[in-house]
Amino acid sequence: MAPSSEIVACSLCGKMEKADYVCPDGHYICEDCRLASPDRLVKKVCEATQETDPTKIAILLMKHPAIQMHGPEHHYLVSCALLAVLRNLGKFKIDGSAFDKAISRGKKVLLGSCGLWGVCGAAAGVGMAVSIATKATMMSDKERSLSMQAASEVLNEIAKIGGPRCCKASTFAAIETAARFFEREFGIRFSSSENPRSCYFKVLNKECFGNKCPYFG
């Protein structure tokens, strides 16, 4: 990082401010984003982004120090990244309250729910994104079925990866499966400019299971 005094845009939320440090690639993170809690960060970034690749949004968020290597913030990170892309593609009407709903619902999924409930929070996050986008409730018909179907397809993919849990691998698998689901069910094609392979986070993960993980190499 190099000291700077230029006015630059925050790489996360887009806010323009006088930078103190800028990285060699020209990236800058505003003071507010540096101090943000995970839920605030996820909401800020997803509200501001124009991105149409959910994996790119997820990786950007997961590189922030507020997002732990493994943690419950991934549960709503997945749903918010998907909702941001759905909004940017213009196929669903997604407003700011959608992110609040996703964060609020995602926070209710326990840390470790994958092992304790048999339901990974990332899979639940995809179900939440479909539910919020289609405005499903427990009284809905097709929307309710689609939400559950999306969650179960993702769950199936995450289960194939094995353990110990990796919130990064689960996030990637959830987004990839959700992309296939949205294309099949709604005809929405996400862009896929960012390839999660090889995983950026593998060196930071003490419990990384290496070649066994589809995102390792």
């Binding site: 990082m1 103190d20 993170i29 540096r34 101090l35 120090p65 507020a66």
Partner: protein, 356 residues
């Protein structure tokens, strides 16, 4: 004071200031309880008053209540656990260290002709326990402090440790003199124990005094921990880093924001003339717990701040003092000096109590 000596030796060992150490000592009547034991429920206070038994709390990772009198030989081993790995087949972390040390002590007892058997939970003659320990771990460093019953008054042991939760222990305990039917010279046991441990560990011990740092820390530990009812009664955990400096932890964003940088600058400025007594650690969010080396000492308040995204913060001796703002230089200095002064005040009060 003896528990302060053990902790000081342990801290000194884990800081790399000394080598693996075996310490032997005797102490007057006392009941030693583990860190998580209940002061109120796990000791028979009536018996303790009757026999003038002091109740003290050791720092340990297991529960246990030990009775000591001048008939006991107490021991403490402070060592790097890596040393034990080649001393046993089928090494099992934690259990093997206890097993090996108990085997060494049991070897010493066997020199008196008793059939002492060791297992990770203690040393037994038949079904009766003759030795028990309250171990403590810090990463790979072990403090194995325990007691060996030589000429111990088992009736008082039983009475002092018998409570509603813990019934009669008499039939479960034995002493070396009880087994042999005669009083034993503690010095003879000391020699045998050292020999037994030396043989089991395949080492030679050299007799040494405490180093200067250890002596200083003993006084500090007694002043701020073992001499206070806050610790002995309420098990209030005192946060003391390494060799006992006052810890100022600053938790900031990465890269630090202007507020974070201001906070770091202010703390360094305030403690510039207190370097001998204060240690400043700047923790950056997301950089992991090993950003200060392989054996990080991170207070629970800092972990809580990290978990709850309270940033930036200043934590002094494990207590969160300033959050999400930059305090004035005067306020910060006053708070740090208070943390230092608190200990001095406690120390002088103790002396007054003793004189009275």
């Amino acid at each position: 004071m003896n528990l302060a000596v053990n902790e000081s030796i342990f801290r000194s060992r884990r800081e790399g200031l000394t080598q693996d150490t075996l310490r032997l000592w005797q102490s007057p009547n006392s009941v030693v309880i583990g860190t998580r034991n209940s002061y109120g429920d796990d000791v028979n206070h009536e018996a303790c008053r009757k026999y003038c038994i002091e109740i003290v709390r050791a720092i340990s990772v297991v529960n246990g209540v030990l009775y000591q009198d001048m008939g006991n030989l107490n021991f403490a081993v402070a060592a790097d656990a890596a040393f034990f790995k080649h001393l046993i087949e089928d090494y099992q972390p934690v259990l093997s260290e206890y097993q090996i040390l108990n085997e060494g002590i049991a070897k010493g007892l066997q020199m008196f002709g008793v059939d002492a058997k060791a297992d990770p939970s203690g040393i037994y003659i038949g079904n009766r326990r003759i030795s028990e320990a309250l171990p403590l771990w810090f990463y790979d460093f072990l403090l194995f402090q325990g007691t060996l019953l030589i000429n111990t008054d088992l009736d008082i042991y039983n009475e002092a440790t018998r409570t509603e939760c813990s019934p009669e222990k008499k039939d479960a305990l034995t002493s070396l003199s009880f087994e042999l039917g005669k009083n034993i010279q503690i010095d003879d046991v000391k020699k045998a124990l050292v020999k037994g441990v030396e043989e089991r560990l395949n080492v030679r011990f050299e007799e040494e005094c405490l180093v200067e740092n250890e002596q200083k820390l003993i006084k500090k530990l007694y002043r701020v921990k073992y001499g206070l009812s806050k610790w002995n009664v309420n098990a209030h955990k005192f946060f003391l880093i390494g060799m006992g400096k006052t810890a100022v932890e600053v938790f900031v964003a990465y890269p630090p924001t202007s507020m974070c940088r201001e906070l770091i600058r202010l703390v360094n400025d305030v403690v510039s003339d207190l370097q001998d007594e204060v240690k400043v650690m700047v923790w950056m969010r997301g950089k992991g717990m090993y950003q200060h080396g392989p054996y990080p000492e991170m207070s629970s308040a800092l972990r809580a701040a990290e978990k709850n995204n309270v940033i930036p913060v200043i934590i002094i001796n494990g207590e969160l003092k300033f959050r999400k703002s930059v305090p004035s230089k005067e306020d910060l200095r006053k708070t740090i000096l208070n943390a230092l002064w608190f200990k001095r005040k406690k120390s002088s009060r103790k002396r007054v109590e003793k004189n009275a």
